[in-house]
């Protein structure tokens, strides 16, 4: 496994972990909360990487994660 793909896997894992926290909240609030969290704590490069990953199918991303990541681009 290349360092880059391993790095992506880690970002996917981290993003899904964040989603697991927000999952207990009402859907819209959860998506907004997750977007805010990623904007507040992830570097632009990390956000870009996860958005790129989502853009090519987002393998491994939970549905809430995927939705939040897609919202990041807006």
């Amino acid at each position: 496994m290349s360092a880059a793909s391993s790095h992506d896997e880690k970002l996917v894992c981290m993003a899904n972990q964040i989603a697991q926290y927000f999952m207990s909240q009402p859907h819209d609030q959860a998506v907004a909360g997750m977007v805010d969290h990623l904007r507040s704590f992830w570097t632009p490069k990390m956000r870009r990487q996860i958005m790129d990953h989502a853009a090519v199918g987002g393998a491994g991303l939970e549905s809430l994660t995927l939705e939040a990541v897609q919202r990041l681009a807006v």
């Binding site: 360092a3 790095h7 981290m14 697991q20 926290y21 507040s40 704590f41 570097t43 490069k45 990390m46």
Partner: protein, 948 residues
């Protein structure tokens, strides 16, 4: 500068609001009700002779030296045990009293060696002083009667001796061990003339003694004396400074001869410790002058090259040119820094300023990332600020203490003593911890409930406790209505009351009987002032932040915030971890916890610093390591931190370091991280610089320089030198000017200055116009964020699971005598108590694996394996093993994974699935580490000789 001698009032000063006025030796004096006659006299400057009394202890009344006459009363009562009363008329001296006192002294001296001139206590002996005060000129009884002059000397403790021949059996040491430390290691054995101080029938080293030094401090003779005093003699001057070990932040007098520390004595007026200490702060300061100290800057082209000693200017120029080259080649984001929680606020502030203003990015992080970052996140979400709510003194008003994932007697010993004192007064204790820590059951302390939860189940446990509070009608509704966001509360109450959070439902997750959880919850909710204290057993989990919010929920629901005796109290690990966070060490925040995207805040910094600042969050430590491995992060400046030992998944961290082109390490020693460094800036110990530390109760304490920096520069000056070479000149002549800038830029520090600290001794932030003398208790009338916010805390099991290959759970922690990565304590005689990391394993697990006490065992997880010795104990429960990480050769973090808290990336040190088996060899990592420990630390001899 002279030797600071604190006034000893003989007994504690009372704090009653009611005053009484009495007459002592013809003068009227007014004191709080409950003050002893002895203390009342001292408050007007009259020192009544005494031997068994000292104001660190309760009055005892045994020496009969402090006798006084009180008009209208018979006899000559002891002034130490007699309370001052309204209208009382006291005479402290007359012919009758003088005669009585002289007789008492005659008896003492008839059984005491007369070697005053060669005695180590010469110049600091209360017995000698009292002989002088009473005018003792001869001893009518002679010296040939029965005596104890042939009493044995116990020199087993590495730091102090007990000389029985010089003991006057005043019991001050025994009482100090009981009342101040709370260990009960000392006693008086036998009766009458045979009464002697005993460390429990064994020598001091083998006894229960924890070497806190309270007995030595209390001893009025040379019976208990520091070995440093015996060797060096008495100090001639002293300065008050702050300990550089844990987050309690004890104040000490550094007692000196010139630039040599003779001893460190806890400072009575230190608000964090009130005159108490532990073995580390009191005695384990020898690392500061260890032969291992590196005192010259060094550089090298490759980590396989030997180090070359160079001048400071050359080191700065080389480091700066490397960082500039890297940024030119790989981009602005390719470098960053880690600030040190062991350095001062001022040193941390200039580090993050260097990164933001000099590197032009926000890639700055701190070791709080791997300990209390979830505290910052969780408490900010719930209350609006990233810090504990109370001062330490608050514990004196607690009625029920809920201690979660913390082991204060080992990790925060001085605070533990305060807590134990309150428990001895009757407060109830609930311990939630996988291990049976000492506070579960120790002399005169017994937890009402021990909830031995399985590692990884904290959130399930806190939810279950809250479930009981909500479903059994124990919510403090008035508090919630007045202080909290009601709609958030209602959402939370619905969530928490659901059956899946009931104690019975989570029993299989936590491993704790539902009945115990219910009883503990009822006790916490109804037992009076409920205070939560917690440590890294809370934060170092994949749900660390969720757990912090869960505790905040419980405290709000039970109304336990905003007054003395309650609150959420993180026990911070390192001396300045609170300060490092306050100072803007996190990549998303400026000082005072303001996000980098906040334009108004950024404007403030930009206008003062004269540069444009990045508005996006930078990399956290794990991001930096990942990015280094991925090839995009090439340079790091590490201040007083050893990520190659302290951070999880050592092999990954080392891979990251090896992938970088310039690693700068600033430290006292060539630590594990320095093996992979290209530039070494020698650091300065806490004794070598001025500054401030902020402890776990938000208390800003002064650090005062008592000796010149061994490498010529204090740490803040080193960062300034590097910044200058980078092209970001920072002009400060003294750390006080850095604090002035911090105050200017940080609302919670607005009124903090060195002048204020001199005036008040210390101050707890927020310290600003609204709170000019600081804030001991936070959120008194309202939360910083306005209304308290209940957060949903769904339990999510960790991804780290046990299975057939890795059936045990490893959890890690500290031990009393060692500290963090051991860089300091391993270079002291504390190794006598803990010379290596051991693996604690339950007898059942040991037996099924054929493991015997002391066997070498292999500890393997999915990511790594190390070998260490096993110790068999039922302190851990079956299925759980435990070790410390103080010794790099053990490599505990070779085994821990890079799983982390969802919100902050704080590593999940407390949960690693492992297997343990007997072995007769060390792991391949350990073999390699032994080799690199030598090969990557070589210093070119010729250069070193030339530099001499």
């Amino acid at each position: 500068m002279s030797l600071i001698k604190e006034v000893d009032y003989g007994t504690k000063l009372a704090t009653s609001a009611v005053s009484v006025t009495l007459t002592i030796d013809g003068e009227k004096v007014t004191v709080p009700q409950g003050t002893s006659v002895m203390a009342a006299a001292m408050s007007m400057g009259t020192a009544i002779p005494k031997l068994c009394a000292t104001d660190m202890l309760d009055a005892f009344g045994s020496c009969r030296l402090c006798l006084v006459e009180i008009e209208g009363r018979r006899g000559t009562p002891a002034s130490c045990t007699t309370p001052a009363e309204e209208g009382m008329v006291v005479h402290t001296q007359n012919a009758r009293l003088a005669k009585l006192r002289k007789s008492v002294m005659e008896l003492y001296i008839s059984d005491h060696p007369l070697d005053c001139l060669t005695c180590p206590a010469n110049g600091d002996c209360e017995l000698q002083d009292m002989a002088g005060v009473v005018g003792l000129r001869d001893v009518r009884y002679g010296y040939k009667g029965a005596n104890h002059l042939d009493g044995a000397k116990d020199e087993t403790n590495p730091y102090f001796t007990f000389d029985d021949s010089k003991c006057i059996v005043c019991s001050r040491c025994v009482r100090a061990c009981e009342e101040v430390q709370g260990t009960f290691a000392l006693t008086i054995q036998s009766r009458g003339f045979d009464s002697r101080v005993s460390s429990g029938g064994v020598d001091f080293l083998a006894s229960e003694c924890v070497s806190c030094g309270a007995c030595v401090q209390a001893c009025p003779t040379a019976s208990l004396t520091e070995k440093s005093i015996i060797e060096m003699g008495q100090p001639e001057h002293s300065k008050v400074t702050t300990c550089a070990y844990c987050g309690v932040g004890c104040s000490f007098k550094a007692e000196m001869q010139g630039e040599r520390v003779v001893r460190m004595v806890p400072f009575k007026d230190g608000k964090a410790n009130e005159g108490h200490s532990c073995v580390k702060g009191r005695f384990a300061y020898g690392y500061a002058t260890s032969k291992d100290r590196i005192t010259k800057p060094m550089i090298r082209a490759a980590i396989t090259d030997p180090w070359r000693e160079v001048s400071w200017d050359e080191a700065f120029a080389h480091a700066a040119s490397e960082f500039k080259r890297i940024q030119a080649k790989y981009g602005r984001e390719s470098v960053g820094a880690i600030t040190s929680s062991r350095c001062t606020n001022e040193e941390v502030f200039v580090m993050q300023k260097l990164v933001r203003a000099g590197f032009g990015n926000n890639n700055v992080d701190t070791c709080a990332r791997v300990c209390h970052s979830p505290t910052g996140y969780g408490l900010k979400m719930a209350f609006g600020t990233s810090a504990g709510t109370q001062d330490f003194k608050s514990v004196e008003k607690a009625d029920v203490i809920l201690l979660i994932g913390a082991n204060p007697t080992d990790a925060h010993p001085v605070f533990a003593s305060r807590m134990k004192k309150r428990l001895r007064q009757g407060a109830k204790l609930i311990v939630a911890d996988p291990r049976r820590i000492d506070l579960v059951k120790s002399p005169h302390v017994r937890a009402a409930y021990h909830l031995p939860l399985l590692p990884g189940s904290n959130v399930a446990m806190i939810n279950a406790l809250a479930n009981v509070v909500v479903t059994e009608g124990l919510v403090d509704e008035a508090f919630v209505r007045e202080r909290c966001d009601l709609s958030e509360f209602e959402n939370w109450a619905r969530f928490i009351a659901s059956p899946e959070n009931a104690p019975e439902a989570v029993e299989a997750i936590t491993g704790v009987k539902a009945a115990d959880v219910r009883a503990a919850a009822r006790l916490f909710a109804t037992g009076g002032n409920g205070a939560i204290y917690y440590g890294l057993g809370v934060t170092e989990h994949s749900q660390g932040s969720t757990m912090v919010m869960g505790m905040a929920n419980l405290a709000m629901a039970t109304g336990n915030l905003g007054r003395e005796g309650v609150g959420i109290n993180p026990l911070r690990g390192q001396n300045n971890v609170q300060g490092a966070c306050d100072m803007g060490s996190f990549p998303h925040e400026f000082s005072g916890y303001r996000h980098v995207s906040d334009e108004a805040t950024r404007d403030l910094f930009e206008s003062l610093w004269g540069v444009k600042l990045d508005h996006e969050p930078g990399m956290r430590i794990p991001n930096m390591v990942d990015e280094a491995v991925a090839g995009g992060f090439k340079g790091i400046y590490v201040q007083g931190e050893d990520i190659a030992q302290s951070d999880p998944d050592t092999k990954h961290v080392v891979s990251g370091l090896e992938a970088m082109e310039c690693v700068i390490v600033q430290d006292l020693f060539l630590n594990e991280t320095a093996k992979y460094a290209h530039v070494f800036f020698p650091g300065a110990s806490f004794l070598e610089k001025d500054g401030t530390f902020t402890n776990a109760e938000r208390r800003i304490n002064r650090v005062r320089k008592v000796m010149a920096p061994m490498a010529g520069l204090a740490d803040w000056e080193v960062t300034l030198g590097f910044a200058r070479a980078i092209g970001v000149p920072m002009r400060y002549d003294h750390p006080s000017q850095i604090m002035d800038e911090i105050a200017q830029l940080t609302p919670t520090f607005h009124n903090v200055s060195y002048a204020k600290l001199e005036e008040l001794g210390s101050v707890q932030w927020p310290c600003n116009d609204a709170a000019p003398t600081g804030t001991p208790i936070m959120h008194v009338d309202h939360f910083v964020r306005g209304k308290g916010r209940f957060m949903l805390t769904q339990f999510v099991p960790t991804q780290e699971r046990t299975g057939p290959l890795f059936p045990l759970l490893l959890t890690t922690g500290r031990i009393l005598t060692q500290y963090n990565v051991g860089a300091q304590t391993r270079r002291t005689q504390n190794n006598v108590w803990h010379g290596e990391d051991m693996l604690e394993i339950h007898p059942f697990d040991a037996e099924s694996r054929g493991i015997r006490e002391g066997d070498l065992v292999a500890l393997a997880s999915r990511i790594g394996e190390v070998s260490l010795r096993a110790t068999i104990t039922d302190r851990v429960q079956p299925g759980v093993v435990y070790t410390t990480f103080h010794h790099p050769t053990s490599g505990a973090n070779v085994v821990t994974t890079d799983n982390s808290d969802w919100a902050t990336n704080c590593p999940e040190y407390k949960v690693t699935a492992v297997q343990v088996r007997r072995t007769n060899y060390y792991s391949s990592w350990q073999d390699q580490d032994r080799e690199t420990s030598v090969s990557l630390r070589r210093i070119a001899r010729e250069a070193a000789d030339a530099a001499e």
